[in-house]
């Protein structure tokens, strides 16, 4: 029953964090940006009208009453109204979430597919050319602002070489989206056999996904490399070599399987990077996801979508880290006892 205890202990840490997160977003939404009543009423109103509006919006109530109303609103899915689209923020979110999900998953896939072998090869061929290449990718990947990488990719592959499409969303001009099943265009068009939409959505996804993937490839490759180095030194790997087990099987079977445990733990951090990068990459490539929605709202000073986006990302981040902790406890029994 060690696992149940571990699960409950983790859960008891998550709940105060969630309360803290909502207090922070509440503070950012209602307390800081001047007076919301003044903002809502505009500059041309008398102080009396502001007072009235304050009463109407419940701003004259004590902070904890306002916080309670905020929380119960959030729990009911009421994230407020967007003044630029004129629709409930939740509705706007639902419409844009698949785009963000598609981009995030594609980037994560790219980062893992390139980052893991790169880390393995750097460790196996330590201090050779490939290790140096890996190190350069690692150092540069962390130092390059995501928006700049995106612009560089656009300039090279769209303007100079002409192999990438213009950065105008998820599908090329005049192409109908596939029938909605998951909302992810690549998967939906695969499921419905819509090859035109598949080609176009992959083509559109290519640059943004690589841009975002590159930004998280570095931590993955670095983690894989350092754990692989440790594992390759261990006795059971030496025994495997001595037993004459094929090289590939030792490295990619025995060693990598154990190296994946610490990699799982940094997936939480990687997810944080992805969410932060998302907003910027979406705005560079006009990708119609929730990050782009939040940034467009920044321009119009529409605070509802921004703060809801922040709350949403934080809740997701806490959830992802919680799931990773639990997974880690499942994979590695030693952790449960700590």
């Amino acid at each position: 029953m060690a696992f149940l205890g571990y699960f409950l202990r983790r859960l008891s840490l998550v709940i105060p964090t969630l309360v803290g997160v909502t207090i922070i977003t509440f503070t950012l939404t209602y307390v800081l940006p001047g007076n919301p009543a003044v903002v809502k009423a505009g500059p041309l109103v008398s102080p009396e009208m502001v007072k009235e509006l304050e009463k109407e919006m419940g701003l004259d109530q004590p902070a904890w009453v306002q916080y309670w109303r905020y929380i119960s609103g959030v729990l009911r899915g009421d994230l407020g109204q967007s003044s630029s689209t004129g629709r409930p923020v939740l509705q706007d979110f639902k419409q844009r979430l698949p785009a963000t999900l598609e981009l995030t998953l594609a980037s994560l896939l790219i980062a893992l597919v390139i980052g893991i072998p790169l880390g393995v090869q750097s460790a196996v061929h330590r201090d050779t050319m490939i290790d140096h290449v890996g190190r350069i990718v690692g150092v540069a990947g962390v130092a390059m602002p995501t928006f700049w990488t995106g612009l560089l990719a656009l300039y090279l592959f769209f303007y100079l070489l002409g192999v990438a499409p213009p950065p105008l969303g998820r599908l090329g001009a005049g192409i109908e989206p596939p029938q909605a099943i998951t909302g992810l265009y690549v998967i939906d068009s695969l499921l419905t056999g819509n090859w035109t939409a598949l080609g176009s959505s992959l083509h559109q996804l290519m640059l943004p996904a690589f841009t975002l993937g590159l930004s998280v490839m570095a931590p993955i490759a670095r983690m894989v490399r350092s754990t692989m180095l440790e594992i390759l030194e261990s006795d059971y790997i030496k025994a495997a070599w001595a037993a004459g087990i094929p090289r590939r099987r030792v490295i990619y079977g025995d060693a990598l399987a154990n190296a994946m445990i610490p990699v799982v733990t940094i997936l939480g951090i990687v997810f944080g990077f992805l969410m932060a990068g998302n907003a910027v990459v979406e705005s560079v490539f006009a990708w119609p996801g929730i990050g782009n929605y939040a940034i467009t709202s920044l321009m119009t000073k529409d605070s509802g979508p921004i703060q809801s986006f922040v709350l949403f990302v934080a809740l997701l981040y806490v959830l992802v880290n919680f799931v990773i902790d639990i997974l880690y406890g499942l994979i590695d029994p030693r952790i449960r006892l700590e």
Binding site: L13, M144, F273, A276, M299, I306, A314, N321
Partner: protein, 297 residues
């Protein structure tokens, strides 16, 4: 995975020998020296911008609009004929000042609260750590974005936002170090001979907790530069007439479709060079100052 198994007997380097030793090792490492030189150069350029920059940053010249790099304008000009190099040099003032400021503020506040948490433990520590967990539940950039959006667009608010997202790092670091060091024999010895708690803290514990803090602060400089640039890229913080690397890149982005590549490339390159330099120095400082990390990477 060095942090999972901290061996209580691992000796720290004697503090008195560390700076001299670190300096000698730094000299042997040409990459770190190059990085340090780049940073010093950029700082000098920023401080002396008025003398170093070949043109006034806001001086327009219709004749020379949208020129690719030439002998007169090394990095080219924008649509108003403003010299890109001069603008990048002047932008360094804002970028470096905010990065240094935010790092310093976060370091001082984070360390102070961390010392309190480390000293009092118990309920105080618990409360502080729950607050830290809540702040760290946000991806740092997203939180910085929200804070700047809520406080309003200004350079000062960007500095506050970046500092606030950085405080937990120092706090956790120094708290962990204090917990680790206070169990060591020399701390016990200092207590046994009757030193008061504050003296043990400031004379014995804090100096030994400094190395990881210095490394963290160096790496945080790179992070601060990236955050600031990204914030102004999406239109937060610095407003147009003032030049800043991120907002300059955003302006330059509009000219990609017409092929004026220098406008987005060079401001971004300035960010990359600075972040790269701070990261390289941070990494090699870690290797010198923290013997436990040596050979792991």
């Amino acid at each position: 995975m060095a942090d999972l198994s901290p061996s209580p007997v691992a000796p720290s380097a004697p503090p008195s020998a560390a700076p001299g030793l670190a300096w000698r090792r730094l000299q042997r490492n040409w990459l770190s020296v190059t990085a340090l030189a780049l940073i010093v150069l950029m700082m000098l350029a920023a401080i002396l911008a008025g003398w170093v920059a070949p043109y006034e940053p806001d001086a327009t010249d219709a004749e020379a609009a949208l020129q690719a790099p030439t002998l007169h304008h090394w990095l080219g000009t924008d649509i108003y004929g403003r010299d890109l190099l001069s603008r990048i040099i002047h932008a360094a003032q804002v970028d470096l000042a905010v990065a240094f400021g935010a790092t310093a503020v976060a370091l001082v506040i984070g360390c102070s609260i961390g010392v309190v948490a480390g000293l009092y433990r118990g309920i105080v520590d618990l409360m502080i750590m729950r607050c830290v967990d809540s702040v760290m539940a946000f991806p740092a950039f997203i939180l910085a974005m929200a804070i700047t959006a809520a406080l309003g667009n200004s350079v000062g608010n960007v500095l506050i936002a970046i500092a606030l997202t950085q405080i937990p790092n120092y706090l956790r670091l120094i708290r962990g170090e204090i917990f680790r060091i206070r169990e060591m024999e020399y701390a016990d010895a200092a207590r046994v001979v009757g030193n008061p708690a504050w003296r043990i803290m400031f004379i014995h514990l804090l100096p030994n907790a400094l190395p990881p803090i210095i490394v963290q602060a160096t790496l945080a400089m790179g992070y601060a530069l990236l955050t600031m640039a990204a914030l102004s890229f999406i239109g937060l913080g610095i407003q147009p007439p003032q030049s800043e690397w991120g907002s300059m890149t955003a302006e330059g982005a509009q000219y990609i479709v017409t092929g004026e590549w220098w406008l987005f490339l060079f401001p971004g390159l300035a960010i990359v060079l600075m972040v790269l330099s701070f990261n390289l120095i941070g990494d090699s400082l870690r290797d010198f100052l923290d013997p436990r990390m040596r050979g792991i990477r």
